[in-house]
């Protein structure tokens, strides 16, 4: 660990499910694996949280000078979403994320209570990292870490160089900053 501040860095997972039972379950599963978790009850709320709802037009504008891809400086490392939801489905959410210039590299995992091969294939074809059958188990959640670690490695080069001119291997953030950066010393 570099630096004097021993701030624990956690991967932040956004979980989306319209079922309150499943929301509580996925939240507990993710927290057991030491992830920071935000739960949303709908695709619309998730899009809002990600800054994709009203800003669809501005996604095509240049965001290249900033990795703060929305005003709230929310950093999400992974999205796990239920497939069957009223309004915007998990599939719709996946498509919107993958079509977004700033969010497309965030790994997306789909959950479903139904084992429909065409559905699974379609999600994977459109960029879903994985597909979990419900009820989701600890063993499923354990499969997430490699996806997150891989993105962290990829993201390090891209994101650091555009935030500022400092070296990729960053010291831990100062206590009053809320934005989490990737660095080598991720303690999870």
């Amino acid at each position: 660990m570099s630096g004097g501040v021993t701030t624990e860095m956690k991967f932040h997972v956004l979980a989306v499910d319209d079922s309150i039972i499943d929301r509580k379950l996925i939240e507990r599963l993710l927290k057991t694996s030491s992830y920071q978790v935000t739960v949303m009850e709908s695709g619309v709320k998730a899009l809002e949280y990600l800054g994709l709802l009203d800003d669809e037009k501005s996604n095509t504008k240049s965001h290249s000078n900033s990795t703060t891809w929305n005003q709230n400086e929310i950093q999400v490392n992974m999205i796990i979403t239920d497939y069957c939801m009223p309004g915007i489905t998990g599939y719709d959410l996946l498509r919107k994320i993958k079509e977004s210039t700033v969010l497309k590299d965030i790994p997306v995992v789909i959950m479903s209570s139904e084992n429909v091969p065409s559905r699974i294939n379609s999600c994977l074809e459109h960029g879903a990292e994985d597909f979990f059958l419900k009820p989701v188990q600890q063993s499923d959640v354990n499969k997430l870490r490699p996806h997150l670690m891989r993105e962290k490695e990829k993201g390090k080069e891209n994101q650091f160089n555009s935030i500022n001119k400092r070296k990729p291997i960053e010291e831990c953030l100062s206590p009053d900053r809320t934005r989490i950066r990737f660095n080598n010393d991720l303690v999870a």
Partner: protein
């Protein structure tokens, strides 16, 4: 046999019977594994949440089936929701009843659906009753100063 031991045995026997009778399945074991010292009420809070959620669904189902013109898609949506939550909780018989219910919705069989709703309510109140008993036994053990045994019932 001292009181804690008796209560613990009662608890183990009761829990085992729930699995043997197919009222609960392995998913309930998984839920308990997620509970630890930092979240000692995780399971019973989740079960409470399930009770509340289920009552709402049953009310919605009753209403939907009482309409002049029954919208079977709406009925199916409610059943689907109930099936999902029951599956996540390990309430096996409730879940299986939902599966049967879905078939009846597909057939647009109103009489069948009405009968199934009654059976579904029966199964739900049964598991509710069992869970309430389970948590009562847990409380008794804890109040007597004992630890609640972890019943890892596997179907071999």
């Amino acid at each position: 046999m001292e009181i804690v031991g008796q209560l613990q045995k009662q608890f183990v026997d009761f829990t085992t019977s729930l699995y043997r009778e197919g009222i609960l399945d392995g998913q309930f074991v998984e839920l308990q594994k997620l509970q630890d010292e930092s979240t000692p009420d995780f399971v019973c809070e989740l079960v409470s949440e399930y009770f509340q959620d289920s009552e709402k669904i049953l009310t919605n189902l009753t209403t939907a089936l009482q309409q002049q013109v029954v919208n079977f898609k709406v009925v199916d949506d409610h059943v689907h929701q109930f099936k999902g939550s029951s599956s996540s909780m390990g309430a096996l018989r409730v879940r299986n009843m939902c599966i049967a219910f879905k078939s009846l919705c597909e057939e647009k069989n109103l009489d069948g659906c009405l009968r199934c709703l009654q059976q579904l309510k029966h199964e739900f109140y049964l598991v509710k009753n069992k869970w309430e008993t389970l948590f009562r036994l847990e409380r008794q053990i804890l109040e007597a100063g004992g630890a609640v045994p972890f019943v890892d019932y596997r179907f071999y």
